[in-house]
Symmetry: C2
Subunit: 333 residues, 2 copies
C-alpha cells in the first residue's frame, strides 16, 4: 500500500501540475472574481439566471481505452460534461477539473491540457478549480453554466403528437470504438472520421441554446439513442414510434458497417455520440429547420411521440422491428 | 483490460446506485429547481451573492488507508470540500458526488451515504448531482456555496501587525493516522478522539461565516499548519513569527505523543486537521473571543504577521527553532 499522505500534500509537492499550466486555461472572464489558487473559486452569476451544474468522471479502461492519446482524453472529458449543459440549453461558463494520475508526467499533462483547453477556448469556458492527485488514471470534471430562470430544457416535457428529433449522425462513435478494437474495418478516411467522432465529440452547445423555447424535452445521447430516448419517454410518461429509415447515417458509418441490421444496432444502441435527442411540436418544425441551416448541423425528424408507452421501431417497409442484442429482428405487429 | 463501455452505460446498468439512495440525500432546498435525475441540476443563486466552487478527490491508498470504513469515508470526502468553503467564509448549499467503485457493493454505498448524508444534513447541504462509475476506489466531490458579493475570505490579505490564529487543536489528525498505522500508541479514549479527528473532521463552516469582516485572510489546514500558513504568507507578501508555546494542544495528543519535539512536528507538519488558520487585526481580538465562546471552539492566537518574509518559529524559551524532517531543531538567531 502506498504511504498515506494528508489530503493534497502530494498535490502540491509532487504535482501542482495544474498550477504550472493554469495560465493557459485561466481565461479572463469578467464573471470570475477569483480563479485557481485559493481554497475555492468565486463566480458571479448574472441576474435572473439559474446555475446549471453537472459532473462526470472518465476512468481509464472503463470509459476510454487505456492507450487513448492524452490530448483526445482532455478534449473528451470536457466534452461529455459540456454535452450535459447543452442538453439543458445552458451556456457553459466555468469548469473544475479533478485529474488523477499514476505518476507525474508533464508530457501527458501538457497534452491533456491542450485537448481540454482547445475545447474550453472554443466555448469560452474558464477553468476555475483544479485538483491533481496520485492514483489510477481518471478524470473528473464539473461543468457549470447558466440559463435564464425557468427556461432550461429538461428530460420531462415530451407531449403526445410531438415530433422526435436527433442531431448529427448517431452510431458514428460506436463505430469508431469498433474500429479501434478491430471489430470493424474501414477505409482510412472513414476511419479517421469515425474515430474523431468517438474521441472528439462536439458538445451541441449552440443547438441547446437555440432549442430553448422550441423543444419540449431534450437529452444528450451518451448511452445510445434507444436508451436515452427511453429516459425521455419515461420522464414524460409517453411512448414513441421511431422510423428506422429516417435515422440519419453518415457515409463513413455506411462504409464501416455495410450490414444494415448491424448498422442500425450501432445507431440505436451505440453510445458516446453526444448528439441531442429532443422533442418539439409540429409548429416548431420551421424554426428547427432554420436552426439546422444556421448551425450547419443535421437535425432529423426520426419519429413521433405517442400516448402508448414504450419505444416502437418501424423499418423501411413499415413493419415493426425489435432491437435485440445481436442487431434487430422483425416481429409481428 | 475491462471492456470499454460508452460513458455512463455502466453507471446505469450496473450501478445507478446514487439513484437508488438519492431520496435519502435530496433535501428539499427551495433553491434547488431541479436535482438529480436530469442531465444537470438547476440551482437558484440569491441576489448579490457570489457562487463559491471547489472540488477535491480522495483516492484509496493515497488520501485514506484502503481499509477505511465506508461511513467514515463518506463523511470525510464531504468534509474536506466543505472545509474549503468554510475557509472562504461561504455558506455551503449544494454538492455533486463522483463515486468510483471497483464493484457494485450496496452495503458499502449505503454506509458511505450514511456518513456523507450525516454531514450534509448537519450543514443543510443538498446532493444535486451524482455519477457512479466502475474503477479503482475514489471519491470526487464538488461543493458549491454562496457568499455575499465581495465579502469572501481569501488567502491574500494578511497585514503586517495582524494577529495569527488557528482554530481547534492541530496535530490531532496526524496523530490519529500514526495510531492507525501503529507508529504511535495511546490509551483507548485518546485513540478514539484522535482517530475521529482524522476520520470525521468538522468543517469549520460557522467559524468561516463569523470571520467575514473580522479576518484579513484565511485558509484551511489540510497540508499541515506550517505549509498552509506558508501559502497565506506568500499570498500576502508577508512573514510571521509563530509562538510554539502558544500552539493549542489536545490532551489526547499529549497522551499519544509525550515527546514535545515530535508533538510539535505533528502540530506543524501533520495534515488533515481541517481547522482554519486566519489573520486579524488587534481590533478584532474581542469579537473573535466572542465567536470562540459562541461556537464553543478554541481560537488561539499563535503568532504575529511581520514585514520580514518567511515563517519564524519561537520556542517556549524565546529562542528561534527550525522545523526539520525529524522534528525541530534549535538554531542560533
Amino acid at each position: 500500500m502506498p504511504q498515506i499522505e494528508p489530503k493534497s500534500r502530494r498535490d502540491i509537492s509532487e504535482f501542482g501540475l495544474i498550477d504550472r499550466i493554469r495560465h493557459r486555461l485561466q481565461r479572463s472572464r469578467r464573471d470570475v472574481a477569483l480563479g485557481i489558487g485559493d481554497d475555492a473559486a468565486l463566480l458571479r452569476i448574472p441576474l435572473r439566471r439559474e446555475l446549471v451544474a453537472t459532473t462526470d468522471t472518465l476512468v481509464a479502461g472503463v470509459h476510454f481505452p487505456r492507450g487513448t492519446e492524452a490530448e483526445a482524453l482532455g478534449w473528451k472529458a470536457l466534452a461529455v460534461n459540456l454535452s450535459d449543459l447543452a442538453a439543458m440549453g445552458a451556456e457553459p461558463r466555468w469548469v473544475l477539473l479533478a485529474l488523477t494520475l499514476p505518476k507525474v508526467d508533464m508530457r501527458f499533462v501538457r497534452a491533456f491540457m491542450r485537448g481540454f483547453g482547445a475545447l474550453a477556448a472554443r466555448h469560452g469556458v474558464a477553468l476555475v478549480g483544479g485538483d491533481t492527485t496520485r492514483g489510477p488514471l481518471a478524470v473528473g470534471v464539473t461543468a457549470l453554466g447558466v440559463v435564464p430562470a425557468g427556461s432550461a430544457l429538461r428530460r420531462t416535457g415530451a407531449r403526445v403528437g410531438d415530433d422526435l428529433y436527433v442531431s448529427g449522425t448517431p452510431g458514428d462513435a460506436a463505430a469508431g470504438l469498433a474500429l479501434i478494437e478491430g471489430r470493424l474495418r474501414a477505409p482510412a478516411r472513414a476511419r479517421r472520421i469515425l474515430v474523431a467522432r468517438l474521441e472528439r465529440p462536439q458538445p451541441r452547445i449552440a443547438l441547446g441554446l437555440a432549442l430553448r423555447g422550441a423543444a419540449t424535452s431534450c437529452i444528450d445521447v451518451s448511452d445510445g439513442l434507444a436508451a436515452d430516448l427511453g429516459h425521455v419517454l419515461r420522464a414524460g410518461g409517453v411512448g414513441a414510434t421511431l422510423d428506422l429509415a429516417a435515422l440519419p447515417r453518415s457515409e463513413a458509418l455506411a462504409l464501416a458497417q455495410p450490414d444494415e441490421a448491424q448498422r442500425t444496432k450501432l445507431q440505436l444502441a451505440g453510445g458516446d455520440d453526444y448528439e441531442l435527442c429532443f422533442t418539439a411540436p409540429a409548429s416548431s418544425a420551421a424554426p428547427i429547420a432554420r436552426v439546422a441551416k444556421r448551425l450547419k448541423l443535421r437535425l432529423t425528424r426520426i419519429g413521433t411521440i405517442e400516448r402508448r408507452r414504450g419505444l416502437r421501431l418501424v423499418g423501411a417497409d413499415g413493419a415493426s422491428v425489435r432491437l435485440a442484442r445481436t442487431g434487430y429482428e422483425h416481429f409481428a405487429r
